[in-house]
């Protein structure tokens, strides 16, 4: 039964075009290793170099978002973002010939409100507007509470071939489930 269940799990994943999926505690080291196998997989599949770079770039930004902003963290990181370990999911696959990267993690409800606003704004922009917005944000100091440059989401949108899809699901209590899907 065990082998059969897993066989159908793998087959379902394959059928859905999934080439990499990870769920659980994510650290920078895990990110790096997953990124390495993703690169190899794309080289082996003779993915166009520009597409491969975009996929990798979106993968890194999404994974770092999970590590930095997931509400479900293992305690212990003394100097964030170094040493942070956070729970989430990240999946890379191919759908109708297009790569996609989707991530999911829990966020505090208070963050969800701000995140939705930012994503609504970003998803409504044309590529030219995204470019301008990115350059503007690059020159500004990072937003409060940011552990990076506050430009990861813009970077994801810029490297995508369609507006990013996102969704929130109320988990009750203080948290929401956040999902973001980008097509390349």
């Amino acid at each position: 039964m065990l082998a059969q269940d897993f066989k159908s799990f793998f087959e379902t994943s394959k059928r859905n075009g999934i080439i990499l999926s990870f769920g659980g505690d994510l650290s920078e080291n895990v990110l790096f290793s997953l990124g390495e196998v993703l690169k190899l997989r794309m080289i082996q599949g003779e993915t166009d170099a520009t597409i491969a770079k975009r996929v990798f770039s979106i993968f890194v930004e999404q994974a770092q978002n999970i590590i930095r902003y997931s509400a479900d963290k293992l305690p212990g990181a003394s100097t964030p973002p170094r040493g942070m370990i956070s729970a989430g999911m990240i999946v890379v696959g191919v759908e109708k010939g297009r790569f996609f990267v989707v991530c999911g993690n829990e966020v505090p409800k208070t963050d969800a409100v701000i995140l939705r606003e930012r994503l609504d704004h970003i998803a409504s922009m044309s590529s030219e507007e995204l470019k301008r917005y990115y350059r503007e944000k690059l020159r500004q100091p990072p937003d409060e509470g940011s552990l990076g440059g506050s430009i990861g989401l813009i970077e994801i949108a810029r490297r995508s071939s369609a507006p990013v899809e996102f969704d929130f699901h109320d988990l009750g209590g203080e948290r929401s489930m956040f999902c973001l899907k980008a097509y390349i």
Partner: protein
């Protein structure tokens, strides 16, 4: 000031800041675990160097195959004081190297270039194959 030389890792660039000759180099890939921790000391040193009353020309060379958004932010932080120094009359050249066919890095270079009006920003295509 003492020269800063840091070897590249799989995810952080090689650094060579040779203050005495005014030559600065960053090359490799850049998505360190903590971009602020990696680039912070470099920015500090660059600021100290620029504050000293020297006048030799500066050549700042960037040859990155990939960098994440936190590193982009850090690069901008390094570029801004260089542009300011150029505005005050210092000869500053940024050389942005990209491999032939690498649209992503070429485009990123164009993005940065548009923020410079005093410093010279050269987009340099190289033919070296990607590894």
């Amino acid at each position: 000031m003492d020269r800063i030389q840091i070897s590249a890792t799989d995810r952080s660039p090689r650094v060579d800041f040779d203050f005495a000759s005014g030559r600065f180099q960053l090359s490799g890939e850049s998505y360190p675990e903590d971009a602020a921790a990696f680039f912070g000391p470099l920015l500090q040193s660059l600021r100290t160097y620029l504050a000293a009353a020297a006048s030799e020309p500066i050549v700042f060379e960037v040859e990155l195959a990939y960098f994440n958004s936190s590193s982009a932010k850090a690069l901008m932080n390094l570029f801004m004081p260089l542009e300011d120094a150029a505005g005050e009359g210092r000869a500053v050249t940024i050389r942005w190297l990209f491999t032939k066919g690498d649209e992503t890095i070429a485009e990123a270079g164009e993005d940065f270039a548009s923020d410079f009006s005093h410093a010279r920003f050269d987009l340099v295509e190289t033919s070296q194959a990607e590894c």
